[in-house]
């Protein structure tokens, strides 16, 4: 492991913009440029520009690429269309989550996997081990690739103006699809209509040497629409409002996708459309049966599940705080929490026993020694308008 702090290809841009830089998973990244709430609001109402170059990119190529990924991941990547994107996970044999991923299909024999910065090395090592016996090559391309996101209701208009050919290709893109796009100045990017903010938006994969040009192009084309550069702090409140899990908070090796309410990402196949073995299958089938059985006996179950919580007070629950039952016993744990800029009140995600997981249930949170009341609510906290 290296202890050297990594820098984004956009580091000089961040310094020039006066960003506050912090260490994030070994990277020196912008936490904010102006203010967390202004940046959060810009993404909800106009557009925000993010540097996500700390994210890991892993390329999988070869005749067996889809067969390999079908074996290595819990989702069925062979079902992903050309230029499609899929949210999925890589699990250990015991069903624990190693990382959550977005997989893009760039060609019939070529996938790009985006992993969390903190997990990239682990994911790469796992895939390298699991690829044995398949005709496919796993390559860590993180250093060659910068990732720039334009997120918000104005993202489509802004990215359209950034292209060399005009709007058509961009407008035609559906959510969770991708395309090769040539931007003004002849810069080639792989553009995906994906994101981690709860808004429409695009993520642009670009060669590291052309990252600064794309960043500047986005700022220049986006200014009229209210686009501002946004840091990782608002990215966290945006994804929390959108009910999206964060690895290390909601997801971990100790949790299965089912615990996190994401059992749907695990594809076992059907009678008509069967699926073969994949790493973690046996364990996850057992987990699925346990959860099915618990649906009828929630009150008696010892299982915990991920829920959303909303508070009426002003003190926010934070990651690691205990969830208390009526007797004041610690029965669960907050995984993420913050004052929601959009809702104007504290929101959180937490693991609680099934008996306390029904929407409307009031639970206590130990907020630094004082009990605050929060109410279980359905996720997400925020859903964008149609």
């Amino acid at each position: 492991m290296t202890t050297e702090t990594l820098r984004s290809p956009l580091h000089d841009e961040h310094v020039a913009l006066g960003a506050t830089l912090v260490d994030f998973a070994g990277w020196e990244m912008p936490v904010r440029y102006t203010g967390d709430i202004a940046e959060h609001t810009a993404v909800r109402t106009a557009a925000g520009l993010f540097d996500l170059s700390h994210m890991g990119e892993i390329s999988v190529r070869g005749a067996d690429a889809e067969a390999f990924l079908d074996d290595a991941l819990v989702g069925r990547m062979s079902a992903v269309k050309l230029w499609g994107a899929k949210y999925t996970m890589i699990c250990a044999a015991d069903g624990g989550v190693i990382d959550d991923l977005i997989v893009y299909r760039r060609d019939w024999d070529h996938f790009v996997i985006v992993a969390n910065a903190s997990n990239k090395d682990v994911v790469f090592a796992e895939l390298t081990e699991r690829v044995e016996g398949f005709d496919a090559e796993v390559e860590d391309i993180s250093d060659q690739v910068a990732l720039i996101a334009v997120q918000g209701p104005r993202a489509e208009a802004i990215v359209s103006r950034m292209t060399a050919r005009g709007a058509d290709d961009i407008e035609a893109m559906k959510y969770y699809s991708a395309a090769n796009v040539m931007l003004a100045g002849g810069i080639h990017v792989f553009a995906a209509r994906t994101g981690y903010t709860g808004e429409d938006g695009f993520e642009l994969f670009v060669g590291a040497d052309e990252a600064a040009a794309v960043w500047q192009l986005a700022l220049a084309q986006g200014a009229a629409d209210g686009l501002i550069p946004c840091g990782l702090s608002c990215r966290d409140t945006l994804r929390l409002e959108a009910g999206m899990p964060l690895y290390g908070n909601e997801l971990s090796r100790a949790r299965t996708p089912f615990d996190a309410g994401l059992g749907r990402v695990v594809v076992f196949g059907t009678e008509k459309n069967p699926r073969g073995d994949f790493v973690g299958r046996t364990a996850l089938e057992a987990v699925r049966e346990t959860w099915k059985a618990a649906e009828d006996t929630a009150a008696a179950s010892s299982l915990s599940t991920l829920v959303g919580l909303v508070g009426d007070g002003r003190r926010a629950a934070r990651a690691g705080y205990a969830v208390l039952d009526d007797a004041g016993e610690a029965v669960g744990e907050v995984t993420s929490g913050a004052p929601s800029p959009t809702l104007g009140k504290p929101i959180a995600m937490a693991y609680v026993p099934l008996a306390l997981a029904a929407p409307g249930t009031e639970v206590g949170i130990d907020v630094r020694g004082r009990r605050e009341t929060m109410t279980v609510t359905a996720l997400p906290f925020y859903k964008r308008g149609a």
Binding site: T20, V31, R32, G35, D36, I37, A38, H40, S233, C234, D236, T237, R314, R315, A316, R318, A338, P339, P341, R368
Partner: protein, 127 residues
């Protein structure tokens, strides 16, 4: 770089103290620009209570931003004689004017405080 005014005294927990440092004198206390910048947008301030006896090093309130929560430490010993009630509705004043409108509370000193830093020493620990 965050502003560190020469005329103030500072604690290692990033509070500033303004006023004469003598027994029975009233000092004004807030958090530094450096601390406010690290917290981000402050959305809630839990203030100490007027009349409360406080000792240097006590936790006497908390500051909550979208990103994090931070405890407010009392850098001096004495009685709280005033709090900035405006912060209940406008906690952003701390980020906008940490050394002015963003003051947090006032304490009548029971004793001359020890261990405060001058601006140079405080600036050195924030580098």
């Amino acid at each position: 770089m965050a502003n560190v005014p020469d005329e103030l005294q500072y604690s290692e927990e990033h509070e500033w103290v303004s006023g004469e440092l003598a027994a029975d004198a009233v000092v004004t206390i807030g958090i530094t620009e450096h601390a406010a910048e690290a917290l981000g947008d402050i959305v809630y301030v839990e203030l100490p209570e007027v009349g409360a006896a406080v000792s240097a090093g006590d936790v006497c309130g908390e500051l909550e931003s979208t990103k994090a929560v931070s405890e407010l430490y009392c850098p001096v010993t004495g009685d709280v004689v005033a709090v900035n009630d405006e912060l209940s509705d406008a906690p952003e004043a701390i980020g906008e004017d940490a050394y002015g409108e963003g003051w947090i509370f006032k304490v009548r000193l029971a004793e001359v405080p020890e261990g405060l830093l001058d601006s140079e020493a405080y600036a050195a620990i924030t580098e």
